[in-house]
């Protein structure tokens, strides 16, 4: 029996290593994705170009401007002279935000103890827009506080000093989120898509007919298909973690043993999903379609990788509850970034295990030992 299993695994590796497209999907996509996500796609506020329209040019306005520009967050694009120029600068894409001081800024501030500053932020990208707005606002508030203290040597009468600590990712690096998220997505892609295609390919080329007519048990055929992809997925996951650690300095706070165990569990779940797809689809093309549109997209969008689940409308939240990636996302983030131990993620782990046994049971039942 083990000889048979070994034979079919060996054969499967021949298929994988002889097909360059398969190899490209297996190893090319993960590397390209992580480099793209890591380097190109960034939510961080850094060296944002801003323009300034200072209509008063007095003590307070210039000091605020100095303070804003002294940080690494903002770079000056230009000083403007009129409101029309603001639009122009936005449309040409030169700036992401503009800071506007009205005339007689210091005078108003001194007389009435309050004055207006206008912050215009480019909200074509809402998240970044809001973030830039908040940062600018913070700079202005800070200036006021500091000025008050130095000018009067007393604190303002009532003040709640909020201090935000960005725990687990103090520098708000987006790559912290992408590396665990990518492992989730890529394992899904490799395991589900590749196994379902590998099985349907045998149906299409007719080789499944010969396999079925052989005395091999269905579970051996399926195991022989699953084990190679389990190994390759594991290599893939290690590759992503290593790239994340050494290139992007994403830490692994929890234990590696737990991480490995959870990755294997998740691989098993998505492999079972792949087998399940292959029991529905008769052709490679259909298997590919199901993997991409029915599984890959929801995983990407609904697992909490890109959008927070709490903000979704109720029906989508329910869908996200049955996406296995949702649970793995929580698990892997907890282990890698928070250093969680098994007891913290026991619930998610058990749910994943449950999904695995359910899918495996259904697939073995659905797997046909005959041609029809």
């Amino acid at each position: 029996m083990f000889d048979r299993l070994k034979g079919i695994i060996k054969k499967e590796f021949y298929h994988i290593f002889r097909d360059q497209r398969t190899l490209l999907i297996l190893f090319g996509i993960p590397i390209v994705q992580i480099v793209l996500f890591g380097f190109a796609i960034s939510n961080e506020i850094k060296n944002v170009k801003i323009a300034i329209l200072d209509q008063s040019k007095d003590e307070h306005s210039t000091q605020i401007i100095d303070k804003v520009l002294s940080t690494s967050y903002f770079d000056l694009d230009s000083y403007l002279n009129s409101f029309e120029e603001i639009d122009d600068a936005f449309q040409k894409g030169r700036i992401k935000a503009a800071l506007v001081f009205p005339p007689k800024f210091s005078e108003t501030l001194q007389k009435e103890s309050k004055a207006d500053v206008q912050i215009i932020s480019d909200a074509t990208d809402p998240n970044t827009g809001t973030q830039i707005g908040n940062y600018l606002q913070m700079q202005v508030q800070q200036y006021l506080m500091e000025h008050e203290v130095t000018a009067t040597s007393t604190l303002p009468p009532m003040l709640i000093n909020t201090e935000v600590e960005m725990r687990y990712n103090p520098e708000l690096k987006s790559v912290y989120m992408f590396v665990p998220g990518l492992i989730t997505i890529i394992l899904m892609l490799v395991c589900t898509m590749m196994t379902s295609i590998a099985i349907t390919r045998e149906k299409e080329t007719g080789t499944m007919e010969v396999l079925l007519a052989s005395p091999m048990h269905a579970s051996i055929i399926l195991l022989g298909k699953v084990i190679p992809y389990l190994l390759l997925s594991f290599v893939n996951a290690s590759l992503i973690i290593a790239l994340g650690k050494f290139i992007f300095e994403v830490p692994v706070m929890g234990s590696y043993a737990l991480l490995i165990g959870e990755i294997i569990l998740y691989c098993l779940v998505v492999l079972a999903l792949g087998i399940f797809v292959s029991t529905i689809a008769e052709t490679q093309q259909l298997a590919l379609m199901i993997s991409l549109f029915a599984l890959f997209l929801p995983t990407m969008l609904l697992s909490g990788f890109i959008f927070p689940i709490e903000n979704m409308p109720l029906p989508l939240q329910i869908v996200s509850k049955i996406v296995p990636a949702t649970y793995f996302n929580i698990i892997i983030k907890s282990i890698m970034l928070k250093g969680a131990t098994l007891s913290f993620i026991l619930k998610e782990t058990l749910i994943l295990a449950g999904i695995f046994f359910f899918l495996m049971g259904v697939s073995i039942k659905r797997f046909k030992i005959r041609l029809e």
């Binding site: 054969k11 021949y14 298929h15 080329t205 080789t207 010969v210 052989s214 005395p215 005959r370 041609l371």
Partner: protein, 306 residues
């Protein structure tokens, strides 16, 4: 004792009746041919026998086992070569054979005695990918794979379709040669001339068996005198004229000539010549000939339609 017994076997695909209550038996060590055109139900029948699909109705027994329940035993003891080339095209000849040897729990070495005559012909291409082999070579490789575990019964579904004439001949020699190894062979083919190479044949059409007999008896079973004719004006014009002839029973092209039967039982050679000369044909050549399987098949098929 019969190795395969089939009784009242029916199979439908939706509206289409693929097999309409057929019955036959195959004896130990026989080469049993299923002869018939595409759509006759040959592949369906073979797949039911080797347990790959289930019959709707009727009794089937292969080596005394029911393909529905005891399929594990059957799958352990049969060799099956599907109609379509079903080996791995991206694996080499040797890798394919090794793979099939392992899944049947054996090795090339152990089975070498059985497959050596065939394997020696493809061994020079051991390292070539199966996808790059010629049609004949592919079929030889597939046959090796089907034989690798010393099956008791061998099912060959159209093994010579799409194979060049020389390879076809070689392939049949191989099949004949397997006789000495105590293997019962069920082989399907659309080529009527291959019927003569079987021990017994079943002529199949549209899900029915028209006749089961030895090839010789089948060929001789033609119950009318058969004439082969040709004329200078060509077959097309000749057929048209003969179809208008009141005594015609059947006429169909056969190779370069026409095969003709008449409603009258006596020798009609002279009468035909006179009729055709009157219709303006020249160089008329008519001879009485012995019938072959194809003549019988066409006649049976026409009877079936009526």
């Amino acid at each position: 004792m019969a190795v395969i017994k089939v009784n009242n076997l029916s199979k439908n695909y939706g509206e289409v009746e693929a097999l309409k209550g057929i019955a036959f038996e195959v004896e130990q060590n026989e080469i049993f041919g299923l002869i018939g055109p595409d759509g006759a139900g040959k592949s369906t029948l073979i797949r039911i026998l080797n347990s790959l699909i289930l019959a709707d109705k009727g009794e089937v027994s292969v080596m005394g086992k029911d393909p529905n329940k005891q399929y594990q035993y059957i799958r352990n003891n049969i060799g099956y070569m599907p109609g379509r080339f079903s080996l791995y095209e991206d694996l080499s000849v040797k890798e394919n054979l090794e793979f099939f040897a392992t899944i049947f729990g054996t090795t090339i070495k152990k089975s070498y005695n059985l497959i050596k005559d065939i394997y020696q012909q493809i061994e020079p291409f051991n390292d070539r990918k199966a996808g790059a082999l010629s049609g004949g070579m592919k079929q030889k490789l597939a046959l090796c794979a089907a034989l690798i575990h010393y099956p008791k019964v061998l099912f060959l579904d159209e093994p010579t379709t799409g194979v060049d004439p020389v390879s076809r001949k070689e392939f049949w020699q191989i099949i004949k040669g397997l006789h000495q190894h105590n293997i019962t062979i069920v082989v399907s083919t659309p080529y009527m001339d291959e019927a003569d190479l079987c021990d017994r044949v079943a002529l199949m059409n549209e899900g029915e068996i028209l006749r089961i007999d030895t090839p010789k008896n089948v060929a001789n079973s033609f119950d009318k005198p058969l004439y082969a004719l040709e004329a200078k004006e060509g077959n097309y014009k000749l057929i048209k004229t003969l179809r208008a002839y009141p005594f015609l029973e059947s006429v169909f092209p056969f190779g370069e000539k026409l095969h003709y039967t008449d409603q009258r039982d006596l020798d009609v050679t002279q009468a035909l010549i006179e009729h055709l000369e009157a219709e303006g044909f020249n160089d008329i050549n008519i001879s009485k000939i012995a019938s072959n399987t194809e003549d019988v098949f066409i006649r049976l098929m026409n009877n079936q339609k009526q």
